[in-house]
């Protein structure tokens, strides 16, 4: 459960950070990001990663929370890198799925 929620939030955060970089932004959009857009993506990225840590701590407490958070973040990042490398367009629906998982968990 924690792994899924923290992983989904972490995936969104890492994806935002990664899209703030010119090379990866161009995998989805024709141009490199504008300065404002890059900063916006970075702020959103770090905020989402902080949120995923918050979620893990909230669900699992201070002992297992950080362990689950780091584990899920590494897993999410591995998934992101492989996706970017082989099927960058799949990011769109994977991000949507991650949002759905997070919302589902928040409402449940």
């Amino acid at each position: 459960m924690t792994l899924l929620v923290a992983g989904a939030l972490g995936f969104l955060g890492l994806a935002a950070l990664c899209l703030s970089l010119g090379r990866h932004h161009q995998a989805l959009w024709p141009n490199p990001p504008t300065r404002r857009r890059a900063i916006g993506l970075r702020v959103a990225g770090w905020a989402l990663i902080a949120l995923s840590l918050g979620a893990a701590l909230h669900i699992d407490g201070g002992v297992f929370g950080p362990v689950h958070w780091l584990g899920s973040l590494i897993g999410a990042d591995l998934l992101l890198v492989v996706t970017l490398s082989y099927r960058p367009r799949a990011l769109v629906w994977m991000a949507a799925l991650a949002v759905a998982i997070t919302l589902g968990a928040a409402l449940a």
Binding site: L3, C18, G71, V81, L84
Partner: protein, 519 residues
């Protein structure tokens, strides 16, 4: 030395990584496999049938049967270890030590009858677990070598971080369309940086696990070198009771087991009997760890002749000891449920990829020019790379395959399995030394894939009738096939890859990369 700090760190990273890389690769692979040690053991003993539950009376009875067996067959031993049956592994596993320097005795018993269990003899996942920190050498040698390599790994990790200038932008980048060197560097960076928290944690806690052995001076000074006294005083083991030198009779252990089970709410794991024939014998009941990060086994110690409780050890560690046991716990990850265990396993695989790609990168960055013969050093590194990176997985696959192919009642069976492991490893390493590098890699990796497929097929064909839970065995075989597919894919990639022109590539290496690779 006119070089800057970063260049000297790059030099340190390259050479510290190279000299210990082969041992580290083996340590990472066997350590990663050890996350599934009990599963590997279970697969290698398909005769075993799990049980729903084992009650206190059944446990007490099997403990009595175990002691009866040990009294008859290992009466002279200094200490007995009785692994008690669990629903997952309903067997009594006995070890005994007679004197230092002789290998311990070992037998598996049926927990109901006390007769030797009708089961193929194998070391199972324990071979890989032991190899992870002893390399199949005498324990002291193996532990020192692994420890020194792990310390150098820390050096390589930190110098690697310092060398890496664009950690943030390289974090997400895996370029597959560029030159081989670029691709290998990306793979090395990504596997290293993504799982960096894991790599730092696992290497550091790995060294800490054996820290008392590597740095014994504190214990030597404070306890006159008596490590048992140190462990007892910090609350990690029960107080040792020295032998009286008078003969004594061990009281029945069944009632002790019942009493211990009533004291501690965790599952009972094993009994340790010290000086079983002495008037001052001790029986220690060791329980599984309660759920938590820390590696702490609750224990109840009994006076062996009277059966009285002499000590109960359950939690209550002071901060320093707690720090130590938490680090050991993090390293072993016994707390991890199925999903987290998969993540730990993936991180372990990334560690293997980190070390393996680093080793390959050394040779790729120093490829001899077209037409020129490779130097002796390059050939040596290439041969050791192939012998380790393809040889060890081939050995593991052969170990699993031998488990299914050797007759179940063969004398010295478990030793033969280990021989198959090392023979195939050596064979791949030697056979890989002769062909041209690319052909050698392609062939060796394809052979690894073939061996893993063969192990899965041998299980399907030869052991299907023995499975107690077909879905579980099919799942394990599917995992073997997935490993095989991974190796087949890499073999295919090696075969298909066409490097861009060598001369053009050298001229076009960006400054940042050249700095890392030339160092």
């Amino acid at each position: 030395m006119k070089q800057g700090f970063r260049q000297s760190m790059a030099w340190l990273h390259t050479w510290s990584g190279l000299v210990v890389g082969w041992v580290l690769f083996a340590v990472f692979v066997t350590g990663t496999a050890t996350y599934y040690r009990t599963e590997i053991t279970r697969w290698m003993q398909p005769e075993l049938h799990r049980e729903a539950a084992i009650g206190p009376e059944a446990l007490a009875r099997s403990a009595d049967l175990a002691v009866a067996h040990l009294t008859a067959h290992a009466g002279e031993a200094r200490s007995w270890f009785v692994g008690l049956p669990t629903p997952e592994r309903p067997l009594v596993e006995l070890f005994w030590r007679t004197r230092p320097g002789t290998p311990p005795g070992h037998v598996l018993l049926d927990p109901r009858t006390g007769a030797p269990a009708a089961m193929r003899e194998t070391r199972g996942g324990d071979l890989l677990y032991r190899f992870h920190f002893e390399l199949h050498l005498p324990p002291l040698w193996g532990r020192w070598i692994v420890g020194i390599c792990a310390m150098v790994m820390l050096v390589a990790l930190v110098s690697g971080i310092v060398t890496h200038r664009r950690i943030f932008s390289d974090f997400f980048t895996l370029r597959r369309d560029k030159a081989a060197q670029r691709g290998w560097l990306d793979a090395h960076n990504v596997s290293g940086v993504l799982a960096l928290p894991f790599h730092l944690m696992i290497t550091y806690t790995g060294v800490v696990t054996l820290a008392i052995m590597y740095m014994p001076w504190g214990v030597t000074a404070a306890y006159k070198g008596d490590q048992a006294a140190y462990f007892a005083e910090t609350g990690q083991i029960t107080q040792p009771r020295p032998a009286a030198g008078q003969p004594g009779t061990l009281a029945p252990v069944g009632p002790m087991v019942v009493r211990a089970l009533a004291t501690i709410p965790e599952p009972l794991e094993r009994l340790v009997v010290a000086n079983p024939r002495d008037a001052n014998s001790t029986v220690v009941a060791v329980f599984e760890e309660p759920h938590g990060l820390s590696h702490e086994h609750p224990q109840v110690a009994f006076a062996g002749t009277s059966g009285e409780v002499v000590e109960v050890l359950s939690g209550g560690l002071r901060p320093a000891a707690k720090t130590f046991t938490t680090m050991v716990g993090l390293h072993e990850a016994h707390f991890a449920g199925p999903a987290l265990r998969i993540l730990f396993f993936l991180c372990g695989l990334m560690g293997c990829a980190l070390v393996g790609s680093g080793l390959v990168l050394w040779t790729v960055a120093r490829l001899p020019k077209a037409g020129a013969a490779a130097g002796l050093g390059w050939r040596l590194v290439h041969t050791l790379n192939l012998g380790t990176i393809a040889g060890l997985p081939a050995g593991i696959a052969a170990y699993l395959l031998a488990n299914r192919l050797l007759p179940a009642d063969l004398a010295g069976r478990s030793a033969r399995e280990v021989q198959a492991f090392f023979a195939v490893w050596l064979l791949v390493a030697v056979a890989g030394a002769w062909p041209a590098p690319r052909r050698a890699w392609r062939g060796a990796l394809a052979a690894v894939a073939g061996l893993f497929v063969a192990a899965a097929l041998a299980d399907l064909v030869l052991a299907r009738g023995l499975w107690d839970d077909p879905a579980w065995f099919l799942g394990f075989d599917a995992a073997l096939l997935a490993v095989a597919a991974g190796f087949a894919l890499i073999s295919h990639k090696v075969d298909r890859f066409r490097a861009p022109g060598r001369a053009r590539r050298q001229a076009a290496v960006p400054a940042g990369t050249a700095e890392m690779e030339r160092a």
